[in-house]
């Protein structure tokens, strides 16, 4: 099997599982069948992705699978396996498999049909997005992931309170700051939709200029985009084209959707909202920036656009890291952290592109993407087990769990140290690569990234302390989860250390994916990065010694804390400026609608009634026909039909003979004429 065929199998496997789960639900089978069908489908996809890597990772120009899809628009169902998509596909499919195993026990019976239908649909859509060599095919996968994300964020559609995000009753600027699953699901799909529209416009421009939406063709003819610069719209087009990626990968101000997406089941948060789907935006940038930037970067407006995008990402990384410092909910800390780390990846890509070294950016961004996928999935899966064990999503109710859940603690610790970028964990290597890419743009940017790295280490140690160290503050008796939940994240935890140890070998493939021949490392930056990590992590000592500042007693500190806790008031501002005015506009429209409604349902019928009274003589005749004559005719007909079917054999044989005679007569007639 060649690599592209394997990719095709990987994409189809999950969709097949989706269909099977739907059939099983219709047949009313036990939930376990559905769960294991889902796992099996994803298992096949994972196997196929391994084959795709084994056969395609060294392919010079990639391996292509292509059939016509919409011939009239030149859209092809084209899949392409090169080093980048092969590794990305492997990460997606293998993590999906681990998390699917975890979900079998975590989700259980309630909602199993919905869960497995959308879970398998998600995995296939994500793989389609990854392997696609056609912008439209990619966009279809992209939207497939969006719709599954919507369905799974709102998984608990009964809006049970333990699935909420935020503190019930808390308001900022009069805007409620707690979110139910159904509300969050709608937020997620509306926020990302804004970006998707931009992306669709961007694709339209590509089609208009090149007459094709093939990514390979775009790579060969990227100079065809130069007319955009001449018309002075290159920068605007670029930002629109990247807008879908910015929204999907939770860049300011779109990060709001990701934060409240934590209402979904934790397995979903781990897979979709940490390890894979939110990486789709980064992947889009990794795939297209090396095509677009070299062709256009010579023009000042494009360079400025990339610089601006890089600073936006750096700002997002910093802002969400500050929010993570004060969050009380475990999943929320991880969500902020995800947004922050995604921003590192995008910042690396954009900054290096602005500096004219796109390949370096892809190297840094992709390295961090791979390592982050593994350790963040681990953190989320452990968080799911912990929240389940203590029956609370607040870190206030945790603490001291090291004693009760030692294996979970070990997995969490390994992943957390990777997040804090401590050597020799994978996060250390990849964050250094990202910071190196950022430093190509300017030293200020690199410093800013390092400050954020310190914050990352601080919130990591805070989370680690509040959940696993100190004294247990909750009620009940926490314990380790079942094997099916424990093993997946334990293996992934070990993997985040293993990846770090094997990094020099892995680095080679990531460099190959980036098209980089040798990897440069800057000693000074590495030392500073390590120092930042150690500095941040050392704050755990303060916690251990019991040294804490009483924030509530100082008005200044409390104001700062509330500002961060309420996400820089950004949610409140968005609701005040966009959502509520939009609602009032909708109310205004409903007044117009009611008027039209009255016209249609009252005024026009009134006229009609008036007319009907005038013609009621005709109406009477019609009525008699319909109500009396026709039924009696039908009754007579019915009687006749019944009498034909007398049940008497002799009658039937008579018909038979009549039929034979009829056939003979017709034949004779035909022959004579």
């Amino acid at each position: 099997m060649d690599a592209a065929m394997a990719a095709f199998v990987a994409v189809i496997a999950g969709y097949t599982a989706t269909v099977l789960v739907i059939l099983e639900s219709l047949l009313g089978l036990n939930w376990k069948y559905k769960a294991w069908t889902g796992v099996a489908g994803i298992g096949v996809a994972a196997l196929a992705s391994v084959i795709a890597v084994a056969t395609g990772v060294h392919a010079e120009h990639g391996s292509v699978f292509s059939v016509d899809w919409l011939p009239s628009l030149g859209v092809k169902f084209a899949l392409r396996v090169d080093t980048l998509s092969a590794i990305m596909g492997l990460v997606v499919a293998v993590l999906s498999l681990f998390i699917a195993l975890y979900s079998v026990e975590y989700i259980g019976e309630w909602g199993a049909s919905r869960y497995w239908i959308f879970y398998t649909f998600f995995v296939s859509s994500m793989l389609l997005l990854v392997y696609a060599d056609d912008l439209i095919a990619m966009f279809i996968g992209w939207e497939g992931t969006g719709i599954s994300s919507w369905a799974l964020i709102g998984f608990y559609f009964d809006d049970r309170e333990e699935a909420w995000v935020g503190d019930p009753g808390r308001k900022r600027l009069g805007v409620p700051m707690w979110f139910t699953p159904t509300h969050s699901a709608l937020r997620a799909i509306s926020f990302t939709r804004v970006g998707d529209i931009g992306m669709l416009i961007g694709i339209g421009v590509v089609y208009a200029l090149l007459g094709t939406v093939s990514i390979s063709a775009l790579a060969h003819e990227s100079s065809a985009l130069v007319p955009l610069v001449v018309k002075g719209i290159a920068a605007i087009w670029l930002i629109l084209f990247y807008l879908g990626a910015l929204a999907k990968s939770a860049q300011f101000p779109f990060h709001e959707w990701l934060v409240t997406a934590m209402t979904g089941p934790t397995s979903v948060s781990a897979l979709i909202h940490a390890a894979t789907m939110v990486k789709a935006g980064v992947y889009f940038a990794l795939r297209l920036t090396p095509i677009l930037a070299p062709a256009l970067i010579a023009y000042a407006s494009v360079k400025e656009a990339y610089t601006g995008l890089a600073w936006l990402s750096l700002f997002t990384a910093f802002a969400t890291a500050t929010m993570a410092l004060v969050a009380r909910e475990l999943k929320l800390v991880l969500a902020y952290s995800t947004a922050s780390q995604l921003s590192y990846m995008l910042a690396a890509v954009f900054a290096a592109a602005a500096a004219g070294h796109a390949a370096e950016g892809v190297f840094g961004g992709f390295a961090h993407l791979v390592s982050h996928a593994v350790f963040k999935a681990t953190l989320f899966l452990v968080a799911g087990a912990v929240i389940h064990a203590v029956h609370s999503r607040y870190m206030d109710d945790m603490g001291g769990l090291k004693k009760y859940m030692p294996l979970s603690f070990a997995a969490f610790l390994l992943a957390a140290l990777s997040l804090a970028a401590l050597p020799p964990f994978s996060g250390w290597w990849s964050k250094d690569a990202a910071v190196h890419a950022i430093s190509l743009m300017s030293h200020e940017a690199a410093m800013f990234a390092l400050i954020t790295a310190v914050l990352t280490a601080i919130y990591t140690s805070r989370m680690l302390y509040y959940v696993f160290l100190g004294e247990y503050r909750g009620h009940g008796h926490p314990h380790e989860p079942g094997k099916l939940m424990l093993y997946p994240y334990f293996i992934l935890g070990i993997a985040s250390l293993g990846l770090g140890l094997a990094w020099p070998w892995i680095e080679h493939y990531i460099a190959l994916a980036a098209g980089l021949h040798e990897v440069e490392a800057e000693m000074g930056l590495m030392v500073m990065g390590t120092a930042a990590s150690i500095l941040g992590l050392s704050t755990i000592a303060l916690y251990m010694r019991g040294l804490r500042i009483d924030i509530e007693s100082s008005p200044t500190l409390r104001t700062i804390k509330d500002f961060l806790y309420d996400r820089w008031f950004l949610n409140a501002i968005i609701y005040r400026v966009i959502v509520y005015p939009g609602k009032r506009f909708a109310e205004l429209l409903s007044v117009v609608e009611r008027a039209l409604d009255r016209l249609a349902h009252e005024a026009i019928p009134a006229v009609g009634l008036f007319l009907i009274k005038r013609v009621h003589i005709v109406e009477n005749v019609y009525d008699t026909g319909l109500q009396t004559s026709m039924p009696s005719q039908v009754a007579i007909l019915s009687e006749k039909v019944r009498s034909l079917q007398s049940g008497d054999m002799r009658d039937y044989l008579t018909y038979f003979v009549v039929g034979v005679v009829l056939a003979a007569v017709i034949s004779a007639f035909v022959i004579i004429t």
């Binding site: 047949l27 009313g28 039909v641 019944r642 054999m649 009658d651 018909y655 039929g659 007639f669």
Partner: protein, 482 residues
């Protein structure tokens, strides 16, 4: 892809021998071993035959359109292969579904053995390359059908079987006569041989006799007398199998026998078959519409007559009249028969779960969707296919038949469409009953039974196969004449 055995003829011969041996074992040995083993053996036979036929379709027939084996006694083409594969699906699903019911009958093991013979008869009809084989197939199917009808030992079944057998013997005599004249006109016992005689006076009775005798098997008016009494009165589970298999059998045989005469005397075929078709469609549909209050089983029995009318129209359109789209007619026949077999299997099986034998009533079906969604959705999908809703098999069958009819005579196309509209009323009424709100607690919510699940699989197959009609259309290339 190369065959395992190299030579296509050897592959076909080996496959046929294996399938026959399996069915013979089921029919002759397993009744001695009890009904459970008989059922299992029937299921395995169907599965093995399905795999063999699918393999032949995929590897052997795909390139060559048709293969003659056993010195011409066997003729396998793509059209027959497609319907035989559907037939094996029907037998497999049918044997899966009936476990809990038939096993408890006094003569349960005989049921499976006789279905084995029935399946063998259908296989023989699909594979027949000579007139002898065709006649053997006819006898196998005829006798096993009468036995099946009589198998549930009560007065209703006995009366129905008697009527079926008496009319069947008349039809058998007519077929025998047709076969003799056939031999006379070609001087050869092989099917598809060149018609030598140019005397229209001899060709006239051949076509008429073939249409009449096989029309009886399909339920074409006015040879339909038995249909309502058999399909409408006896145990629905038996009907589910007979109605599906008899239609597949009749279509396989009539297409084989009639095609040489479709070019020798096209106008005779077109006039006789189309006239009978018009009578059949109208009597079937109006009968169903006017007996709507009696029982859902009667309604479906009349609908079987109407569906036979659509099929015989397809047969009429095989006539080699210039301008008539024979290919569309053949594709329509194949798709429509497949859709009919699967959806009748599904709908009669569901009736078997909810009909209170011996009188099938409406009440248990009312609001079925809320009580047993599996059974109800099976019925909805099956009726959708019978009604001709896109994209089911029933839809594609009707589309192709109407397309062919329009090329022959627009009036025929109009009559077909008028009948589809009439039929929509009573199928719609049946679906409407399923969606009624629950009114009383007389009937409790039921756990989906194995019969309902098998019915749902059959019904969904009409939908899934309907999604790939182009594949089916490709399969319906009739080897040697069209």
């Amino acid at each position: 892809m190369a065959s395992i055995l190299g030579d296509p003829v050897t592959t076909v011969e080996a496959g046929i021998v294996v399938a026959t041996l399996f069915y013979m074992f089921t029919s002759l040995v397993t009744p001695l071993l009890g009904s459970k083993i008989a059922r299992l053996s029937l299921y395995v036979s169907a599965l093995v035959s399905f795999i063999i036929l699918a393999y032949l379709g995929y590897s052997t027939i795909a390139g060559v359109n048709y293969v003659k084996a056993f010195g011409g006694a066997i003729l396998l083409d793509q059209f027959a292969l497609y319907l035989l594969i559907i037939g094996m699906m029907v037998v497999g699903l049918g044997s899966l579904a009936t476990g809990g019911v038939v096993d408890k009958w006094e003569s349960g093991e005989a049921y499976y053995a006789v279905i084995g013979l029935l399946a063998l008869g259908v296989l023989a009809a699909g594979l027949a390359g000579s007139l002898y084989m065709a006649y053997v197939a006819w006898i196998l199917v005829a006798v096993s059908s009468y036995v099946l009808v009589a198998l549930y030992k009560d007065n209703t079944s006995a009366e129905a079987a008697m009527k079926y057998a008496v009319m069947g013997s008349v039809a058998t005599i007519l077929l025998l006569l047709a076969v003799q004249l056939y031999y006379g006109s070609t001087r050869s016992s092989s099917i598809g041989a060149q018609v030598l005689v140019s005397d229209k006076a001899l060709l006239l009775p051949i076509i008429a006799l073939i249409i009449v005798s096989i029309g009886f098997k399909m339920g074409v008016v006015p040879f339909h007398g038995w249909v309502v009494d058999v399909y409408g009165n006896i145990k629905p589970i038996v009907v589910s199998m007979i109605s599906a298999m008899a239609k597949i059998f009749a279509v396989l045989l009539v297409v084989k026998l009639i095609i040489p005469y479709a070019s020798a005397a096209p106008f005779v075929l077109l006039s006789v078959a189309a006239t009978l078709s018009v009578f059949t469609m109208f009597l079937g549909n109006i009968g169903a519409l006017t007996t709507i209050r009696d029982s859902p089983q009667k309604l479906l029995a009349y609908s079987s007559i109407a569906q036979a009318g659509y099929l015989i129209m397809g047969i009429a359109l095989l006539a080699k009249v210039p301008g008539v789209d024979n290919k569309a007619a053949l594709a329509g026949i194949a798709l429509h028969t497949a859709g009919y077999a699967l959806s009748k299997l599904a709908s009669f099986t569901v009736l078997d779960v909810y009909c209170e034998y011996p009188e099938c009533k409406w009440k248990p079906l009312r609001g079925l969707l809320w009580r047993d969604p599996v059974a109800a959705s099976a019925l909805v999908f099956a009726l959708a296919s019978l009604m001709g809703m896109p994209p089911t098999l029933g839809f594609w069958g009707k589309v192709y038949i109407v397309k062919a009819a329009a090329t022959a005579n627009p009036l025929l196309a109009v009559l077909l469409v008028v009948n589809f509209v009439i039929a929509a009323f009573y199928y719609g009424y049946l679906i409407y009953q399923l969606f009624q709100p629950l009114e009383d607690s007389e009937y409790q919510a039921a756990k989906p039974r194995i019969r309902a699940r098998a019915a749902l699989v059959a019904a969904i197959l009409t939908l899934i196969l309907g999604l790939v009609p182009t594949i089916a259309y490709g399969l319906t290339v009739y080897g040697y004449t069209l």
